[in-house]
């Protein structure tokens, strides 16, 4: 059964470079610790060539002018680790989360789906690169051999079954303890902060020193040692290490179902004031999130943007700002997966609701959903594309207001103008076309429509025997004249138990203005006492 291992070397640096790809050409060092006592915990090759090593203080590292210093970000590393697992799970359902920088896949049965093992390993490497990961990929017949090969050999490595000892032989013995040694180095860097007494880590160092004294510096030498003598001197741990060196260790994977969390974050060295550079960073985060969602055949219907602001001092900000955080939630009508559309929607939203302070940190989270499925047809009536429509509605909402665009829903009330606006979604359950019946002619007859004035026009009414005989409106000169014909009053009232109780008398009037006769609805507010023209019959 073949197993694949994806290993991201120098994980803290890789996480920082994933957030800021433009730093790849520069020397970079990752700092950790409480200021002003930060120390470097990881450096890239360029920084190592310049003499920067883990354990140096920040002051020492700053002597190198070209060096880019970045604080260690748990959020960025978490996002990178999640991307690593997404990459692994896009190739196999059985994935083990071996370490924060290592993922193991069970490729049993995948050859018939994805092709030969070399092709699978190259595809894994390409997918990891597309997610912003610089990874080593190795395929072997057992998980431990795959891990050793991924840690020892750069790029893509395929170990044929039965040749593990031969191919793993040149690797140094340090690769057997790489994981433990990295943790020990980090603890040495923070020795002044934390003192950890871990016997296992110290034993690993002792074993390594013992093998070095014996002249065993690679796995071939360790594999060639006699088993009995090795067990007498190093015990069961020595035998276990020898099995690893020979590539004969066998174990089963412990698959982990990673929670579907799709979050990306970036911490800024300098605060952002303008929306344009913010859009640049948002574009990068959105592309990473969309790539991760796409690798798992998912989409999203909700995006949550959290901005950490700098020195928020004003107190009149809306409630979304709490503890120097500015949160905007973008809810979509349908699951979508288009980074450009998301970026445009976020830009329109931020234009309408600006943060109001410089931005120090950006955090973007997407709620995963199954993508929508729709069956198109040749003879169906046209309908707007959801992504285009969402952008259009966002632009229109920016002009007229979010509550002034949408579809309307009648309320269950007798109030004449009882309705509310709700979101317009261009996806309605298809109804079967109604067949024409002889009575349908009456059903399709024109219905006289009312054209409302919002707000209703206040008018002055001259009454005779309690009936209007003349109407005059100061605001709209067309709505005035002698009443030529009238019908009413019809009394209506409602919500008497609520604060918004209403009671009115309605009249239908025909007014003459110049040569034209127009029909209006006149309303007498019985509670407020005013006269209004509510609309015109047109």
């Amino acid at each position: 059964m073949p197993f694949a291992c994806i290993y991201v070397p120098n994980f803290p640096v890789a996480a920082a470079l994933r957030a800021e790809p433009e730093l790849q050409v520069r020397p970079i060092a990752i700092l950790e610790g409480k200021p002003p006592l930060e120390k470097t915990i990881a450096v890239n090759k360029s920084a190592a060539r310049m003499g920067i090593a883990p354990g140096m203080t920040k002051a020492q590292a700053e002597l190198c002018v070209e060096l880019a210093l970045r604080p260690r970000s748990a959020l960025q590393e978490s996002a990178t680790h999640a991307a690593l697992l997404d990459c692994a799970q896009s190739f196999s359902p059985c994935v083990e989360d071996a370490a924060c920088d290592t993922a193991l896949l069970d490729l049993a049965g995948m050859e018939s789906l994805l092709g030969p093992l070399p092709e699978i390993s190259r595809a894994i490497h390409e997918r990891a690169t597309s997610l912003g990961l610089v990874a080593h990929v190795a395929v072997a017949s057992n998980p431990d051999a795959a891990v050793l090969a991924a840690r020892g050999f750069p790029g893509v490595t395929v170990i044929s079954a039965g040749k593990e000892a031969e191919q793993l032989g040149p690797l140094p013995t340090e690769v057997l303890f790489a994981n433990r040694l990295e943790e020990l180095q980090k603890e040495d860097a923070q020795k002044h902060d934390v003192q950890k007494d871990d016997e296992q880590k110290k034993a690993a160092v002792r074993l390594l020193q013992t093998l070095d004294r014996w002249g065993i510096r690679n796995l071939r030498g360790l594999a060639a040692l006699p088993e009995v003598s090795l067990s007498e001197r190093l015990g069961q741990e020595g035998l276990r290490l020898q099995q690893l060196a020979r590539g004969t260790a066998s174990r089963t994977l412990v698959p982990v179902e990673a929670p579907p969390v799709f979050e990306e974050a970036v911490e800024l060295e300098h605060p952002i004031v303008l929306l344009e550079p913010l859009a640049f960073l948002l574009n990068r985060l959105l592309e990473q999130i969309c790539a991760r969602l796409g690798s798992r055949a998912l989409a999203t219907q909700e995006l949550r943007l959290t901005l950490e602001l700098e020195n928020l001092t004003s107190s009149h900000q809306p409630s979304a700002i709490n503890n120097q955080q500015f949160v905007r939630t973008l809810r979509l009508p349908l699951p979508m997966l288009d980074a450009k559309v998301f970026l445009k929607l976020l830009q329109l939203d931020l234009n309408a609701h600006p943060p109001g302070a410089p931005i120090m940190k950006i955090h973007l989270a997407a709620e995963p959903m199954h993508p929508r499925s729709a069956q198109g047809g040749l003879f169906l009536p046209p309908s707007p594309e959801p992504e285009k429509l969402e952008l259009t509605l966002a632009r229109i909402a920016g002009m007229v207001g979010a509550d002034k665009v949408g579809t309307l829903e009648l309320l269950d009330t007798y109030h004449p103008d009882g309705f509310r606006m709700r979101r317009f979604v261009a996806e309605v359950a298809r109804k079967s076309p109604q067949k024409k019946t002889p009575d349908s002619a009456a059903a399709t007859a024109a219905v006289t429509a009312l054209r409302r004035f919002r707000p209703p026009l206040r008018v002055n009414v001259i009454l005779e025997n309690g009936q209007p005989v003349r109407v005059a409106c100061a605001k709209k000169k067309e709505v005035q004249g002698d009443v030529l014909w009238k019908a009413g009053p019809w009394r209506a009232s409602g919500d008497w138990w609520e604060r918004e109780a209403w009671s009115r008398d309605e009249w239908d009037l025909a007014l003459r203005n110049d040569d034209a006769v127009s029909f209006y609805r006149l309303v007498h507010d019985l509670l407020g006492g005013g006269w209004f023209v509510e609309g015109t019959y047109d």
Binding site: A352, L380, P381, P382, S383, P384, E385, K388, L391, T392, I396, G398, M399, V400, G401, A402, K404, V405, G406, T407, L408, E409, L410, P416, F419, M421, A426, V428, R430, Q434, A441, T444, A445, A446, V447, T448, A449, L450, R451, R452, F453, R454, Q467, D482, L484, W485, K486, A487, G488, P489, W507, R512, D515, A516, V517, S518, F519, T536, Y537, D538
Partner: protein, 354 residues
């Protein structure tokens, strides 16, 4: 109106249609050939030598014929007999004064479109739509996008002004009438702001596409403001909707789109329309019969009253009921099919008339 195809051969006095039988053979210029007489060939036929003088002429059989736009029902059978329906991919104007039936026709068109399963958009410059009327007309509200233009906006877009601003009033008295001028100026600014929102929203929706019917309701817009919309805007709308399965319908008081509209309907009472025609002929000397003594002539406006053939003020008002009124539509212009201008009348009934 069918598209006229004119070939360059017309300028040369030759027939339009390149029919093999109609076109005479063209003698070629004399060529030095050995033992071969000069050949007579027909121009424009494939596989034969052509006269170089006719090289720029394309045979009619190879020209693209612009297809006639698809016509769909407007929701009112009487109107469909007049115009055939509403054309897709074209701009249709419906004009008329207040209480002429414009909104009734608008809702009927929306109801017909939503019944066909299409999504519709209503850009309401005056925020005048009555939801109850829409529901009573049969509009499927889930399929209707309503854009309500308002006097205020959450954020004015910082873009160069594309539409004409309100011109200053000449000779305004800044003394005693300053308050009136301020009120009027504020009103004009509000109207202009609504108009700008409506036109921008129309641009966006036309560009987005996917709607079967887009209605631009400028019915309550003052004539001065409506006439200030530049013709280039209407031309842009027409180009945006061309070759698309979208009906663009505008509602206004007077025609403002000029030649950009393919269909122009004038609504009103028959007598009003006749008066308007007389006015156009007599240059304003007469506008037909004018109501005198506060009474409206019978032929001016028909009101459906139960057993009430005439207007009568003696009956108590609660005995009256507005059950509807007759609407007359006159076809002013149609680029789709050459027909003489004529009108049709139909009845609109109120929702409570049954």
């Amino acid at each position: 109106m069918s598209s006229a195809v004119v070939s360059t051969s017309a300028a040369l006095g030759r027939p339009f249609v390149f029919d093999a039988k109609a076109v005479p053979e063209m003698p070629l210029p004399a060529e030095p050939t050995e033992g071969r007489p000069p050949q007579r060939v027909r121009p424009g036929l494939s596989g034969t030598r052509t006269d170089p003088r006719l090289a720029s002429v394309t045979p009619a059989s190879q020209l693209d014929i612009r297809p006639a736009p698809e016509i769909v029902s407007s929701g009112i059978p009487a109107l469909d007999t007049l115009t055939g329906g509403l054309p897709r991919g074209c701009l249709t104007e419906i004009c008329g004064p207040t209480s002429s039936g414009r909104t009734t026709l608008l809702l009927a068109a929306l109801a017909a479109a939503t019944r066909r399963g299409e999504f519709c958009a209503l850009i309401d410059a005056s925020d005048a739509l009555d939801p109850q009327s829409a529901a009573a007309s049969g509009v499927e509200l889930d399929r209707l996008l309503w854009v309500r233009c308002s006097e205020s906006s959450p954020q004015r877009e910082r873009s160069p002004r594309r539409y004409p601003s309100t011109p200053l009033r000449a000779g305004s008295d800044t003394g005693t009438n300053s308050l009136k001028d301020q009120i009027q100026s504020r009103s004009e600014n509000q109207t202009e702001h609504r108009l700008e929102q409506a036109l921008r929203a129309s641009d966006l929706l036309l560009e987005s596409g996917g709607f079967g019917l887009i209605v631009l309701d400028l019915g309550d817009l003052p004539q001065q403001a409506a006439r200030r919309i530049p013709l280039t805007t209407w031309f842009r709308f027409r180009r945006a909707v061309e070759n698309k399965p979208t009906i663009l319908l505008t509602i206004e008081q007077h025609p403002i789109a000029g030649s950009c509209s393919s269909l122009l309907l004038q609504l009103g009472s028959a007598d009003e329309l006749a008066a308007k025609r007389r006015q156009n002929v007599d240059h304003g000397t007469s506008r037909g019969s004018v109501a005198k003594n506060g009474q409206v002539p019978e032929e001016r406006k028909k009101i459906n009253l139960p057993a009430q053939p005439e207007l009568d003020f003696l009956y108590p008002s609660h005995a009256q009921l507005l059950t509807g009124f007759d609407i007359t539509a006159e076809l002013i212009r149609s680029r789709l099919d050459r027909k003489p201008a004529r009108s049709v009348a139909f009845e609109a009934r109120t929702a409570w008339a049954g």
